[in-house]
């Protein structure tokens, strides 16, 4: 891994830079930390907060399919720019709103932004990496760097937004966000979009869902892991969405919202660092995590002390992030790579589907009784998550994880090394290596063995050779085709 990172072409870094700047600026949404405070100012109560959450939870899935199709058929840079425009519109509408209805409309426009921007960055980074290096091996590295930039922007905007709200007004943070997002558009405009859509096509939503349900019914391990991912995701989402309501109930000062939100967001990063050190297959650690999350959730139902509330939420968010990462690993290990996309997407959908009714009920309970009563819903969800965690850790132990090759080519090499028969799908990955004589003798033997029995691959190889021959002839015809100069990528 280290060697391939070192060999990452400089052009890749340069090419992704404007995209990362755009993503970073887009993350500077100053109003996020004080949103609940502002909403309370303009007349929201807990029930209408729940309804608002449900409203945008409903918009995102509706728009996801059309935005995906647009991104594939048209341009992903422009989809991201449209997302920015929606975010600017939503910030502006939010800042201008003086009533619950107006703000709910702003939140639904924000849903448009989520739908447009969500998977787009990932797919753009993916295609750029493939386009520049010919393989997806560096994808994780680069999507990780992009996410790190984004998280840093979240933390920064959380702190800045809190301070800004304290010294000006909550409403002002909405307006201050607009020009920053405008700058993000410039970043996206300067990004040289990959032209390579066909190499990795987005899997259709409907087939994702169908595939997921088929897999869920067939394998119990998958079902457990899937439910765990969804329930854990739901609970985390609930803390991020409704956690600030505790601060509102305790009349916390505006300046506190910034650091509070920054800490909450940073638990996601901390969890990523901690997870490597924890052995979540050990019973003791699982038990400790479940106990801690249960205690913190129960604390939220009765304590009236601000520091305790904040600490409890942060600890709970951290534990849930750890469980979330672990759960998705369980899920990934339990399914073969060909359907992983579908299953992962299904888990995301399930989270939103659960979140919609949960937020409505949560808001209603908080309204009828108090936010502390709603805390029992968190505790209840923690019990469910704990039970699922225990079951899936047990079930997962019985199953050897499906070994995953990072790239299609590695998979082909692994199959060949295991002295299995190559399938056509794997053979086509190895053609250049074969022609360069870069295959090991064993793999070469498998390759040739397959060729003798497969007319399809024989034709394929013959045509590839014909193309190479014709390309070679181009040079003798004083070829007009020239290699593009190295630095012409960025305009």
């Amino acid at each position: 891994m280290i060697t391939s990172v070192a060999a990452a072409p400089r052009t890749l870094a340069r090419r992704l830079l404007p995209l990362q700047i755009g993503v970073g600026l887009q993350g500077l949404i100053l109003w996020v930390p004080i949103e609940k405070l502002f909403m309370t100012e303009i007349g929201f109560d807990a029930a209408s907060v729940g309804a608002m959450a449900a409203a945008y939870a409903a918009v995102v899935p509706l728009l996801e399919v059309p935005s995906g199709i647009l991104a594939d058929r048209w341009s992903r840079s422009w989809i991201m720019i449209l997302g920015c425009v929606a975010l600017m519109a939503s910030s502006l509408l939010g800042g201008l709103s003086h009533s619950v209805i107006a703000y709910v409309i702003a939140a639904m426009v924000l849903g448009v932004y989520f739908a447009f921007s969500s998977g787009t960055v990932d797919s753009v980074v993916y295609d750029t990496v493939v386009e520049e290096t010919g393989s997806n091996e560096l994808y994780e590295t680069w999507i990780g760097r992009t996410r790190a930039v984004e998280s840093a922007a979240f933390v920064l905007s959380a702190l800045a937004g809190g301070v800004l709200a304290q010294y000006t007004s909550a409403r002002f943070t909405y307006f201050a966000t607009v020009p920053l997002i405008g700058l993000a558009i410039i970043g996206f405009l300067r990004f040289h979009e990959p032209r390579l859509h066909k190499a990795a096509e987005r899997v259709r939503l409907r087939s994702h869902i169908a595939l997921t349900f088929r897999t869920m019914i067939t394998f119990r391990v998958v079902l457990c892991a899937l439910l765990l991912v969804a329930a854990g995701g739901l609970l985390s989402q609930a803390i991020f969405e409704f956690g600030p309501l505790w601060l509102v109930a305790l009349a916390a000062p505006a300046v506190l919202y910034g650091p509070y939100w920054a800490t909450l967001v940073s638990t996601l990063g901390v969890a990523g660092l901690v997870i490597g050190k924890l052995h979540l297959e050990r019973r003791l650690i699982v038990a400790v995590l479940i106990m801690v999350s249960l205690v913190t959730a129960l604390l939220l139902t009765w304590t009236r002390s601000l520091p305790v509330v904040v600490t409890a939420q942060v600890v709970l968010a951290l534990v849930l992030a750890i469980i979330g990462i672990h759960a998705s690993r369980l899920l990934h290990d339990a399914v073969p790579s060909s359907i992983r996309a579908g299953v992962s997407s299904g888990a995301g959908t399930l989270t939103w589907m659960l979140f919609l009714p949960f937020s409505l009920v949560f808001g209603w309970v908080a309204q009828e009784n108090s936010i502390y009563w709603s805390g029992f819903m968190l505790a209840g969800a923690v019990v469910v998550v704990g039970a699922l965690l225990v079951i899936s850790v047990r079930a997962g132990r019985a199953v050897a994880p499906v070994e995953v090759a990072a790239t299609a080519k590695q998979e082909a090499v692994e199959v060949a090394q295991a002295a299995e028969q190559l399938a056509c799908k794997q053979l086509v990955e190895l053609v250049a290596d074969y022609l360069d004589d870069a295959l090991s003798p064993e793999i070469r033997a498998r390759f040739e063995e397959h060729l003798t029995g497969c007319d399809g691959c024989t034709t394929y190889l013959k045509q590839t050779r014909q193309i190479i021959g014709e390309l070679n002839d181009l040079s003798t015809g004083r070829g007009n085709v020239q290699a593009p100069p190295r630095e012409s990528t960025d305009q």
Partner: protein, 135 residues
């Protein structure tokens, strides 16, 4: 160490984002990169998983690939792919030379080359078939 952190953050980001409140996106994007589109092969439920659904059709015999067609196919390639394909197959440079010119490793430039050739093969095949129908 730095790489393991990057990996962790990547892992986390991919899933953590789904938990991050409204900064979550709900549909996950983990495509598989393959040289030939995955839908050209049979799926796990078909009789021969991972084998061709339909064999690549042999090109009409005796019909040469027109150099104009090939040139425009080359021009349509993504830049990095075109660079590698031209250096290797048109100018006949060695893998080491291409590595030096592009900053790619020997393995990476081969992966790029494999994909570029596949795109050309597909593109030219499409043109040939269209031409074959007209005549």
């Amino acid at each position: 160490m730095k790489i393991s952190i990057a990996r962790m953050i990547a892992n986390l980001a991919a899933r953590g984002r789904a938990h991050a409140n409204r900064f979550a996106w709900w549909s996950w994007w983990f495509p598989t990169a393959a040289t030939v589109n995955a839908d050209r092969f049979q799926s796990d439920s078909d009789p021969y998983p991972d084998h061709w659904k339909q064999f690549p059709r042999p090109w009409p015999a005796g019909q040469a690939v027109e150099s104009e067609a090939l040139k425009s196919a080359v021009t349509a390639l993504p830049e990095q792919w075109r660079r590698v394909a031209v250096l290797r197959d048109v100018e006949g440079r060695s893998p080491a030379e291409v590595s030096a010119a592009t900053g790619l490793t020997a393995a990476q430039q081969r992966d790029v080359l494999n994909r570029a050739r596949e795109l050309l093969r597909e593109d030219v095949g499409r043109r040939l078939e269209r031409g074959g129908l007209e005549t």
